[in-house]
Symmetry: C2
Subunit: 341 residues, 2 copies
């Protein structure tokens, strides 16, 4: 008999300041009966994303809903079909969807908002949430369409050891960048960036002013900045950018964290002096690029030209902890929760 | 006999903080003898520009040289040829050039860097430095190419009563904007913006937070922000911009002025949430647009669809004061110095 309930991760309350474990709770929720065209999916992996941080707040949002206290979180996940009333998606099929943070879920089998089948022979399951998923696609769109990366460019990536950052550095090189530098928190991550992820140089943003690090790592300046953090690193990049430089604004993690000092918005005068362009983007505006992206990245993976790396935490009861760890910089590459094998 | 010297305005010393009259001096300098192909020009009007403020400093610059203590200032000017060894530019011709801040100057007659003839029948002389000059061209390039103004857009212009601002508001309307709002310093300027310059609404940035003013003047949000000031007004615009909004970064006057409070660069998270693009620009990168610009603006002027307005100060000895007045917001429209009739 089908399971009638599933365990879910709920937001218990909005964080007072920085989120803490008590802001989340694992609860039991009913599962609806399978309707015509629907599938019951057992989640195997789910994605833990920095963008969830902003969705814990009540502040204005424009591209997605915020989480609601008392309700389950959501996010990208990958699972296997256990029951199906949708012929196109039979039991045993692997699907990717938007309703993680729960062990099981009932989805429409063919909607674009529902379950999308993936081919596990093309790449391991975690890779479908990482380099071949929204994470890799974010790096690809940011570099190609937003920052208009050109062969020979020097590229700077912040949060370079994160999921998007490890993808962006490798993609930049394969797309023709001449010199790729990054920043991360701590010497261990910096070593990995150079040894595993093809960065030419990496600097610990906690150990020295990023402006000094950029002057050392890219003394001739940079052409592209892939910004995941904002704040001091964005200001430093504005000074390091060469005439005509481009900034892909992907996220601004430095807006969180209480004791941060304010960095002056008028560093943007550099954009006037050097004709810089800064563009924010939301990856799902660019789905027309997805076939090109999947073909190229699958090719790079098959040729062994690119390293996929995940930080995997086991069990739904550890999922909130995985989010808190991510927000504290505890991951290298993609942060995932494994819910079943 | 030709004059052998000319009076010039020199930078005596770099300003300690805000520039003061004693930082400048009128001095007598020799004039070179006229070479083959050269003309002696008596300046009639010269342009006083906010961008001169940054050039008084030693900080990094990328698109033009800074002024040097002991040397004359320079800037756009318009004069009449008194002597000529260049057949294409005879005595009596009117020319526009880059060497203002002096009464007379020897120039090459036909270089692009030298004197360029203008036709005084097309528009009054001051207009050639204002709406038909670099000032108007800056507004035109910023709106059309940088902010990609579209019919129906709502446009916000800061420093709207200044030279570029009065041009930008009027051009925006004639280029199809649906709603044009601006900010300026003081109720008098705000009244002028609505009565003379076609703004739908204007607010005194000194009297209320610009974020509140925008919520009142453009409750549905804005599509384009023409930024002349940076700082708090830029942050307010980032919050008011609608999805897909565009910012033309033209100048950042709020970077000067000592007691200003720092505004957080992470207001740029709005650019991520709403896919905004911010682009700095330097007008002379866009000279290909100049014929189109001159034709359209000359047409609007001839049809009486546009108001040219200048603040005119007389005499080289008052020129430094005119610059200080401009930096304090003492002008409406283009600030000019008249050197002779």
């Amino acid at each position: 008999m089908s399971p009638r309930t599933t365990r879910v991760v709920c937001l218990r309350r909005r964080p007072a300041k920085e989120p803490v474990p008590g802001d989340f709770a694992v609860e039991e929720r009913p599962l609806p009966l399978l309707g015509e065209g629907q599938v019951l999916v057992r989640n195997l992996y789910m994605s833990v994303d920095p963008s969830m941080r902003g969705r814990l707040e009540t502040t204005e949002k424009h591209y997605t809903h915020n989480f609601t206290p008392g309700s389950p979180l959501d996010g990208r996940a990958l699972g296997v079909v256990e029951e199906s009333r949708c012929p196109a998606v039979p039991p045993g099929a692997f699907v990717r969807h938007q309703l993680g943070w729960r062990e099981r879920v009932v989805l429409n089998g063919t909607d674009t908002d529902g379950a999308a089948r993936i081919d596990p022979r093309l790449a391991p399951l975690p890779t479908w949430l990482g380099l071949l998923g929204q994470t890799g696609f974010t790096a690809y769109v940011g570099l190609t369409r937003i920052a208009e990366l050109r062969p020979g460019d020097t590229v700077f990536v912040s949060a370079a050891a994160g999921a998007v950052g490890t993808a962006a550095g490798q993609f930049a090189r394969l797309l023709g960048a001449d010199h790729v530098v990054g920043t991360a928190g701590g010497p261990g991550k910096c070593a990995l960036l150079v040894e595993e992820f093809g960065y030419d140089a990496a600097a610990d943003y906690r150990a020295e002013p990023v402006r000094d690090a950029l002057a050392r790592m890219a003394p001739e300046g940079i052409d592209v900045y892939f910004d995941n953090v904002g704040g001091e690193q964005l200001a430093a990049a504005l000074h390091a950018l060469r005439t005509g430089g481009r900034v892909a604004l992907c996220g601004m993690m430095s807006q969180f964290g209480g004791e941060r000092r304010t960095v002056d918005i008028n560093h943007l005068v550099q954009a006037v002096l050097k004709r810089l362009t800064l563009s924010g983007f939301i990856v799902r505006d660019h789905d027309d690029l997805r076939p090109e992206f999947e073909q190229r990245v699958a090719g790079w993976l098959a040729e062994g030209r690119i390293t996929a790396r995940e930080t995997v935490v086991d069990g739904l009861e550890n999922a909130a902890g995985a989010l808190l760890s991510l927000l504290g910089g505890g991951n290298v590459g993609k942060m995932l929760v494994r819910l079943a094998d």
